[in-house]
């Protein structure tokens, strides 16, 4: 049976992972490669590396990190942050990334999804959407790190993204993000029902039950950052918990 995926997201600034507590067995917790290897060993299903600086001069550092991760970690990983053109796609894919995530740039230029899908295949195009609930009970798409409301309906945008060739949708709930009170269940349920491509739930993970709830409601994968980085939840424990909850997961029994 196809398993539900658990994906830690690593924010990278000038070549270093931003968040993170001291982990046992890791010398340098801010080294993206070391941390990536650690999570891979803990049974993470994929990794996301997000370039939060994405300034021109730091881009080369980041590409080296992508190469280094590809050479040392043998599970799939996605690169996001600062992707604006198909040329940006090409660079990170050649460096060894399996997928590329686009957000604001795709809102500004939806054809980017189509061009990237045609050139590199849908499987590597992840459309990441920052969504916030509005007063009408639906969700608006926000850009620029959640600062700007586009007024676009998030569900419609996800459908359009699928039509344009995205292979996966990562839905980040701005309301739930950082609050640690669970994923936005309604949003994830609606999206999973509407789309025929996989949905990754993001934003809101605080405890193990939150993962179980969102994966049971239809999401294909769940992404989180701080609960993993601060060791509030160990991925191997989470996998065992989900297994006991009858959710199909890949277990790494050591």
């Amino acid at each position: 049976m196809l398993t539900k995926r658990i994906i830690p997201c690593l924010d990278v600034d000038k070549g270093r992972v931003v968040k993170g507590k001291k982990f046992e067995g890791i010398k340098d917790v801010a080294d993206p490669v070391e941390l990536g290897k650690f999570y891979s060993k803990e049974c993470a299903d994929e990794l996301v590396f997000y370039d939060i600086t994405a300034s021109h001069e730091n881009r080369d550092i980041f590409i080296h990190i992508v190469e280094s991760v590809a050479a040392n970690v043998n599970i799939p990983f996605t690169i996001g942050g600062g992707i604006r053109t198909t040329e940006d796609f090409r660079k990170v894919l050649l460096a060894g990334a399996d997928k590329v995530s686009v957000n604001s740039a795709a809102v500004a230029n939806p054809d980017l999804i189509k061009e990237a899908a045609l050139r590199f295949g849908s499987q590597c195009v992840v459309l990441s959407i920052d969504a916030k609930r509005n007063s009408k009970g639906s969700w608006d798409v926000y850009v620029k790190g959640g600062r700007e409301n586009t007024g676009i309906d998030a569900i419609e945008w996800a459908k359009r993204g699928q039509q344009l060739g995205a292979g996966e949708i990562c839905i980040n709930s701005i309301d739930a993000d950082g609050v640690k009170e669970g994923f936005d269940i309604k949003l994830n349920q609606l999206l999973s029902k509407t789309l025929t491509i996989p949905v990754i739930a993001s934003g809101g993970a605080g405890k193990m039950e939150d993962f179980s709830e969102v994966l049971k409601c239809g999401a294909d994968a769940a992404l989180a950052a701080s609960v993993f980085h601060y060791r509030e939840i160990a991925i191997s424990d989470l996998k065992e918990y989900l297994f006991k909850e009858n959710i199909p997961v890949r277990r790494c029994l050591i």
């Binding site: 043998n74 050649l94 399996d98 295949g121 996966e168 491509i197 996989p198």
Partner: protein
């Protein structure tokens, strides 16, 4: 020396890195003489079937591959590279493949999320040195929108379930295919590549 075929599609470094970790000598090449002189061939691939076949034909690599395989040289096709080994694909039309193995590449059943993306369980159909030490229920990472419908299910060593029995590892004589990415499939993927290494010794 293993020749990883470079025909202008996708990133080949990940396969190369995985082989290097296993101390396997490999080159990434599109040159006929290097392929002719290799001990085994790896045919990688991502993207569209038709595009990949066009690239192979334009470069004449289709003939080079077929000649080498007909002489008995081992070939391992990975992901789209596995699909290309077969007769025909129905991906957005009907396209001829290399025809080294019998079967066609078809769409998934309605109602399933496509691409079939993520870790899925392996089931054993046939015992073979290539799948030595692989246990029932181990996971590998799949990402594909079409799957193989083989003419002979006996060519299938391992399969996974996604609406239908989806062939995961196929093998007939010197021709091998893996639908998933062994280079991205953690320890199980490494074991399979190790078995491949033993097999071509």
């Amino acid at each position: 020396m293993i020749a990883i075929i470079d025909y202008g599609v996708g990133n080949l470094m990940n396969v190369y890195n995985a082989l290097k970790h296993l101390d396997m000598d490999a080159i990434i090449t599109g040159a006929k003489d290097e392929i002719d002189n290799s001990d085994a061939i790896i045919l990688p691939g991502v993207g569209a079937f038709n595009d990949a076949m066009l690239h192979l034909k334009e470069t004449g690599l289709d003939k080079v591959i077929i000649e080498n395989v007909k002489k008995g040289k081992p070939i391992l096709g990975i992901c789209l590279g596995m699909q290309l080994l077969f007769e025909k694909s129905h991906e957005d039309g009907e396209w001829e493949g290399l025809g080294l193995l019998k079967g066609e590449i078809v769409k998934f059943k309605e109602g399933l999320k496509v691409p079939h993306m993520g870790w899925n369980e392996l089931h054993i159909n046939k015992v073979h040195p290539l799948v030595k030490n692989i246990n029932e229920g181990e996971y590998v990472y799949f990402v594909h929108s079409y799957h193989l419908d083989p003419k002979f299910f006996e060519d299938v060593l391992l399969y996974t379930d996604y609406g239908v029995r989806v062939p995961a590892v196929v093998c007939r004589d010197n021709i091998i295919g893996m639908q998933f990415h062994p280079e991205k499939s953690s320890t199980t993927g490494i074991k399979l590549l190790e078995n491949f290494k033993e097999l071509i010794k």
